[in-house]
C-alpha cells in the first residue's frame, strides 16, 4: 500500500521544480510550462487527499475539475498575450517587458 506521504512529497517536489522554472527561465513560454507543472502537482495533491481521506465525497474531484479548467483557460489566454507581445516587440524574453518599472 502506498502511504499518502509519498504522493505528498512527490507533489511538493513537483511544485518546487515548477516554481524554479517559473522564476528562472528567460523564455516566457517556458514560464508557462513551469506553471503547468505546478498545477499538475496541485491536482495530484487534491486527488490523493480525496482518495485517502474521504472517498465518498465528491469535493476533491470537483476541485480538480476546476483546476484543470482554470489551467486550460489560463494557458490559452497567456499564450495569446505572449504572441501579441511578440508581435509588438519581436521578443519573447520575459525580462524585456518591464513596463511597470519605477
Amino acid at each position: 500500500m502506498i502511504p499518502l506521504s509519498w504522493y505528498l512529497i512527490l507533489s511538493a517536489a513537483l511544485v518546487c521544480i515548477g516554481v524554479f522554472g517559473v522564476i528562472s527561465r528567460r523564455n516566457a513560454i517556458a514560464m508557462l510550462l513551469g506553471v503547468e507543472l505546478i498545477l499538475n502537482a496541485v491536482n495530484i495533491n487534491l486527488l490523493a487527499f480525496w482518495r485517502y481521506k474521504d472517498v465518498s465525497s465528491v469535493t476533491g474531484q470537483v476541485f480538480t475539475i476546476m483546476v484543470i479548467t482554470a489551467a486550460a483557460a489560463e494557458v490559452a489566454v497567456g499564450l495569446a498575450i505572449f504572441i501579441a507581445v511578440y508581435r509588438n516587440r519581436r521578443s519573447i524574453v520575459a525580462e524585456d517587458v518591464a513596463e511597470l518599472k519605477g
Binding site: M1, I2, P3, L4, S5, W6, Y7, I9, L10, A12, C16, I17, F20, G21, I23, S24, R25, R26, N27, I29, A30, L32, L33, E36, L37, N40, N43, L47, A48, W50, R51, Y52, K53, D54, V55, S56, V58, Q61, V62, T64, I65, M66, I68, A71, A72, A73, V75, A76, V77, L79, A80, I81, F82, I83, Y86, R87, R90, I92, V93, E95
Partner: protein, 175 residues
C-alpha cells in the same frame, strides 16, 4: 501491494526527471515534449489513485489541448527563440535556493504531520465515481454554481484569447 509501490516509484522518477528537464533544456520544443511526458506520468498516477476519469481528462485536455497549444506558440514565436543564449535569468540562483528551501519546508511539514502515513480508504465502500461526480455537478445543492462559473470562465478566456490574438492590421475600430 508491492506492485503498486514499484509502479509508483517508477512513475515518480519519470515525472520528476521529465519535470527537471522541462525547466532546464535550452530548446523550447524539447521542453514542450518533455512536458508531455511529465503530463503522461501524472495521468498514470491518477490511474493509481483510482481516478480513472481524471486520467483520461488529463490526457485529452492537458496533453491533447494544452501541450499542443504550447507547441503552436513555440512555432509562432520561432524567430525570437533565444535557444542559443543563456536560458536562465539573473534570479536563477536565488530561485534555486528558494525552491530547495520550499521543498525542505514542505516536506518537513508534511512528514511531521501524523496523518501522512495514512493508508487508502477501504475500496469496497467507494461508490461509482463518475455517476456521483456527474450528479453533483448538476445538482443545485451541489456544485452546479461552480460548474456554471467555470463555463463562463472558459467563455471569457475564449473571447479574450481571440481578441488579444487578433491581427492588428484588421483594424481596431471593432471594439
Amino acid at each position: 501491494m508491492i506492485l503498486d509501490q514499484v509502479i509508483f516509484l517508477v512513475t515518480a522518477v519519470v515525472v520528476l526527471a521529465a519535470a527537471v528537464l522541462v525547466v532546464s533544456v535550452p530548446k523550447m520544443i524539447h521542453a514542450a515534449l518533455w512536458l508531455i511526458l511529465a503530463l503522461a506520468g501524472v495521468a498514470v498516477l491518477f490511474v493509481l489513485l483510482q481516478a480513472g476519469f481524471f486520467a483520461v481528462v488529463q490526457v485529452i485536455v492537458y496533453i491533447g489541448a494544452i501541450a499542443v497549444l504550447v507547441i503552436f506558440a513555440v512555432m509562432l514565436t520561432r524567430k525570437a527563440m533565444v535557444d542559443d543564449g543563456p536560458q536562465l535569468n539573473r534570479y536563477s540562483v536565488m530561485a534555486g535556493a528558494v525552491s530547495l528551501m520550499m521543498f525542505a519546508a514542505l516536506s518537513g511539514m508534511l512528514l511531521s504531520w501524523d496523518g501522512a502515513n495514512a493508508l487508502p480508504a477501504n475500496p469496497a465502500v467507494h461508490p461509482d465515481t463518475i455517476v456521483n461526480l456527474g450528479e453533483s455537478l448538476t445538482n443545485p445543492q451541489g456544485f452546479l454554481l461552480p460548474f456554471e462559473v467555470a463555463s463562463i470562465l472558459l467563455l471569457a478566456a475564449l473571447v479574450g484569447a481571440i481578441f488579444i490574438g487578433r491581427e492588428q492590421r484588421a483594424g481596431r475600430e471593432e471594439e
